[in-house]
Every structure is written in structure tokens, then in C-alpha cells.
């Protein structure tokens, strides 16, 4: 019974994605219409300067936001797991978790109104653009990194760090030689999560982005409201291919690592 639902659920998740990808190879001008096999939409995609520009902006933005989120979220997770019961811990914890559950429309509006108020008071940030978008995505990503890092630190306890301190290592050495290597996988996972959140975001970007900063999801969203193009199908194939390739590389890396150890 549960197996039947499992395969039905997987079918439901995959059917629109596979159909989307399949019709990328159709010669027809309308999306989801079969007009014989053709590569033309991949050629059109490769020649679409606006789309490529938006995609490269999205990749750079996601990498920057994920890196910022990794630093801030790592610090938040470490504070929550290792600083005991300091004053204001409850507020700190609630604020750290808030972006996980706030409706995106509310976070987006709140961040935009903050940026406008700040600009009024201090003259910074000047207008909306890549910088405000970066901060908005980093604040969302940091919450996810904090959860992952806090969970990792809580599950392994402070024993190793205490032992290193007892053996004479100072705080910086303990952090560099014990804590950092132990949380490195969580930081990497958090970075990936933050990258994906930024790369896939429409709502926060709609509020905090400016005229010069159109990300890939924003561009696709504005085009979709006027009707999707077959180029979008070709893009879906490219994304799916990149994801599968990434997954395979990760598997190969895991296997080679297991063989070494």
C-alpha cells in the first residue's frame, strides 16, 4: 500500500518535469506541442543574451549570498550550541529561526521597507540592486545554515573541544583544529542549501531587487506571465542535466572517499 503511494507520488513529482523536458526537443513554436524532433530551442537558448546574462548574475549572486550566509549562519549556530544560557538567548534563537518560517511576502516587504528607511536616514544603501538582493538572500540562507550547524554541534557535544583546551590549546587553536573540521560538512551542506534558495527565489527578489538586477527566476517569472516560450523547455533540460551531473559527481566523490578511509 505505502509502496503504491510512493510510486504514485514520485510519478506526480516527475510527470510535469519530464514532459517539460521532453517537449524541449519539439520543433513547434508553442510550448507543449509536438512538431517533430529538433535542437532549435537549444540553439535559441544559447543565443539568448538576456537570459544568459540573468543566469550568470543569478549564479554570482547565489554564490555570494551563500558564502555570506555560511559565515553568519555558522556563527549563529555556534553561538546557539556553545555559548550556554547567555542573556537574551531566547530572543537570539527566535530571530535566528524566524526567516525559516516567515512568509516570503512578509520578509520581502520587511527587508525592502528597512532598506528604504535606512537610505532615508543614512543615505545607504543607494537604491535597490544587487547589494540589497545579496543581503536579503544571505539573511534567509543564514537561518538554514544556523539550523544545520547547531544540530551538528549539539549532536557531538563539547567533549573534543574541552579535551583540546585541557591539553593547552587556546580558544583560536581549538576552533581551528577541532571545531572547524568537525562542522565543515555542515557548513558545506548549508552553503549548498543557501545557494539553491537564492538561485530559486522570486519573491524576495521582486521586493529587494532594482532595475539593473534581473535574476533568472525574475526574468522567467515575467516571461511566464506573458506565456512560456519553448526556450524555457530547453532551459529545464539544461538544469536537470546539471543537477544529475552534480549528483553523480557527488556520488563518485563519496565512493572514492570511502575507499580511502
Amino acid at each position: 500500500m505505502s509502496r503504491v503511494v510512493l510510486w504514485l507520488g514520485l510519478g506526480f513529482l516527475w510527470a510535469p518535469v519530464l514532459l517539460m523536458a521532453g517537449f524541449a526537443f519539439s520543433d513547434a513554436r508553442q510550448p507543449f506541442v509536438w512538431g517533430g524532433f529538433s535542437w532549435r530551442w537549444f540553439v535559441a537558448l544559447a543565443g539568448n543574451a538576456r537570459l544568459l546574462e540573468a543566469a550568470s548574475l543569478s549564479v554570482l549572486l547565489a554564490a555570494g549570498a551563500a558564502t555570506l550566509a555560511m559565515l553568519a549562519g555558522g556563527a549563529m549556530g555556534w553561538v546557539l550550541a556553545r555559548q550556554g544560557a547567555f542573556r537574551g538567548r531566547a530572543v537570539f534563537g527566535a530571530l535566528a529561526a524566524a526567516p525559516l518560517v516567515l512568509p516570503e511576502v512578509v520578509s520581502g516587504l520587511a527587508l525592502l521597507l528597512l532598506f528604504v528607511a535606512l537610505e532615508r536616514l543614512t543615505g545607504w544603501p543607494q537604491g535597490r540592486g544587487v547589494l540589497t538582493l545579496l543581503l536579503a538572500h544571505a539573511s534567509l540562507g543564514a537561518a538554514y545554515v544556523a539550523v544545520v550547524v547547531q544540530g551538528r554541534l549539539a549532536s557531538m557535544g563539547p567533549l573534543l573541544e574541552d579535551a583540546a583546551a585541557d591539553l593547552g590549546a587556546n580558544a583560536a587553536t581549538v576552533f581551528r583544529t577541532i571545531t572547524l573540521p568537525l562542522i565543515a560538512p555542515s557548513l558545506a551542506a548549508g552553503w549548498g542549501l543557501a545557494f539553491f534558495l537564492s538561485f530559486d527565489d522570486v519573491v524576495l527578489a521582486s521586493f529587494t531587487s532594482g532595475p539593473g538586477a534581473t535574476t533568472l527566476p525574475l526574468l522567467l517569472f515575467s516571461q511566464l506571465r506573458m506565456g512560456a516560450t519553448p526556450e524555457a523547455h530547453a532551459l529545464a533540460v539544461v538544469m536537470l542535466g546539471l543537477a544529475v551531473a552534480g549528483l553523480c559527481l557527488w556520488q563518485i566523490w563519496l565512493r572514492s572517499k570511502n575507499r580511502v578511509s
Binding site: M1, S2, R3, V5, L6, W7, L8, G9, F12, L13, W14, P16, V17, L19, M20, A21, P31, F32, A72, A75, M76, W78, V79, Q83, F86, G88, L95, A96, A98, V101, L102, P103, E104, V105, V106, L109, A110, L113, L114, V116, A117, R120, L135, A138, A142, F196, D200, V202, V203, S206, P217, F221, L224, R225, A228, A236, M239, L240, L242, A243
Partner: protein, 277 residues
């Protein structure tokens, strides 16, 4: 030092925005940019409650809020109804095959949220594949309006949120103590009795948390209703969006955000409690 930096980050990017929204919810709409002014005259707060009056004046906003809660409940309920048996189904597979199936759950996310919605638009149109297939099979004689209806909306919502319900449920069910179920089976309980008296009560908290993890963000969802839902059935997220971008009434958008947050606080508190167990 690290705590101070992290606190400054949270203060600037999480607390300050919420405080600014709360303040602007009491501001007064005005011409110019930004299109509002704070009701401070000669250093005294003159209090602008207009936005709150507009929100409660007629049923327009209340109806949008109620529709959002209904859509969010239906989405979360459907996700749970699918995700729970799916998680059990994955756990019945051989351990070596589980990572592959979990990857199959996550991979559809990788083509991106907007393209997944584009796929649904293409499938559900009057001339789309679903209607063509139903017509060809003779189930229907004329295209059924699926796109821009609650059917289309729920399809897109469940498709988007299902992995987020499935992954935490899978983690919780994978960590459960199998010995209890084995003991019950040894004592003569049938599979259904084992499920009803051991598995289900043991995972009720995780199921509740998964429901809320979908319900809370779904209640404020804007993009999926805008692309797939009925245009006349405005939801809370769409109402905030419209007031901000179309009507340019920032104080009203801020007040509506605060109202949505206030409604979501009880489920949020419940989610935190379920998660701590």
C-alpha cells in the same frame, strides 16, 4: 565577539525589518517617494490607524485571509496524506536503494520553481495535455477549466511543498524504534493493528510538525496562486503584493503583513513545541 557580530547581523537583517514594518503599519499614505509619512507632528506621534480601519472595514481582506488558510490547510493535508505513506514506502525499500529514491524526490526541484510552474501552466491549459488526454479517452466531451481554478492551484501547491513535508517525516520515521513494532507483531498484532497502535501514535508529533511546516509558508504563498489560481479569488499573499506594487499603499501592505503574522503566530508556536520533542 562572535556573539556580538551574530547579534548585530540578526538585529539588522531580521529584527529591524520587522520593527520597520510594524512602524509603517501605523503610518499615513502620502504622495511622493516613499509613498507614506510617519504621523509625527512637532515631535508628537499623532497615531495613524487608518490602515487598520481599512483592513477591518469590509470583508475583502478577511475573505482573502480565510481563503489563504483554507488553501494552506488543504495543501498541508494533501502533502501529509502523500508524504506519510511515501516515507514509509521508502523505509520498506532495501537500505542501499533509499538514497536513490530520496534523490528522486529532490531532483524535480532542480529545474527551478518558475519552470515547474510553467510546466503546470502548459499541462493544465484548456488546450493542454491533461485536457487533450481526457478528451481522447472520452472521459470528457469539452475541455475542463483546470488552469486558474482551485484544482490547478492545489496541483501546483502540493507539487511545490511535497518534498518539504516528506524529508522531515522520513527522518523522523527512520529514527523510530523498530523493536516496539517487532514486539507487537510477535505478540500477535496484525500489520494494521501494529500501524494503528504503535507507528501512528509514535509519529503523530512528526506528522503534525510536517503539516505545519507546509501550512505556515503556504498561508502566505503568492507566486503559485498568481500563476495557477483563480484571478478573482485573492489570497493573503496576493493582497499584500497588490497593495504594495499596484495600489502603492505601503502602510496598508505593512498592516496586512502584521495581521498575517499575528494569525500565523499560534501555528508557529505549536510547530516550535512539536519540533522540540
Amino acid at each position: 565577539m562572535i556573539r556580538a557580530l551574530a547579534s548585530a547581523w540578526l538585529g539588522l537583517l531580521v529584527m529591524a525589518p520587522l520593527l520597520v514594518v510594524a512602524a509603517i503599519a501605523f503610518a499615513v499614505p502620502d504622495q511622493g517617494l516613499p509613498p507614506f509619512r510617519l504621523p509625527i507632528i512637532e515631535g508628537r506621534w499623532e497615531g495613524g490607524n487608518e490602515s487598520w480601519g481599512v483592513l477591518t472595514a469590509d470583508d475583502f481582506y478577511l475573505a482573502a485571509l480565510l481563503r489563504s488558510l483554507v488553501v494552506a490547510s488543504a495543501t498541508a493535508g494533501l502533502c501529509l496524506a502523500l508524504a506519510y505513506p511515501m516515507a514509509l514506502g521508502i523505509l520498506r525499500l532495501a537500505p542501499a536503494r533509499r538514497p536513490l529514491v530520496l534523490a528522486l524526490v529532490v531532483l524535480p526541484l532542480c529545474i527551478g520553481f518558475v519552470l515547474r510552474m510553467a510546466a503546470w501552466v502548459g499541462l493544465l491549459r484548456d488546450s493542454g495535455l491533461v485536457n487533450q488526454a481526457l478528451l481522447a479517452m472520452g472521459v470528457i466531451s469539452a475541455p475542463v477549466p483546470l488552469l486558474y481554478s482551485s484544482t490547478g492551484l492545489l496541483m501546483g501547491m502540493v507539487h511545490s511543498y511535497l518534498p518539504f513535508a516528506l524529508l522531515p517525516l522520513y527522518a523522523a520515521l527512520a529514527a523510530r524504534d523498530m523493536r516496539l513494532e517487532e514486539a507487537a507483531a510477535d505478540l500477535g498484532a496484525g500489520p494494521f493493528t501494529v500501524f494503528r497502535s504503535i507507528t501512528l501514535p509514535g509519529s503523530a508529533a512528526a506528522a503534525g510538525a510536517a503539516f505545519l511546516l507546509v501550512f505556515i509558508p503556504a498561508a502566505g504563498e503568492f507566486v503559485i496562486p498568481a500563476l495557477l489560481g483563480a484571478p478573482d479569488a485573492l489570497l493573503a499573499g496576493g493582497a499584500i503584493w497588490q497593495e504594495f506594487f499596484t495600489a502603492r499603499d505601503w502602510p496598508l501592505a505593512a498592516a496586512a503583513s502584521m495581521a498575517l503574522l499575528a494569525v500565523l503566530l499560534p501555528p508557529l508556536a505549536l510547530w516550535q513545541r512539536l519540533g522540540r520533542r
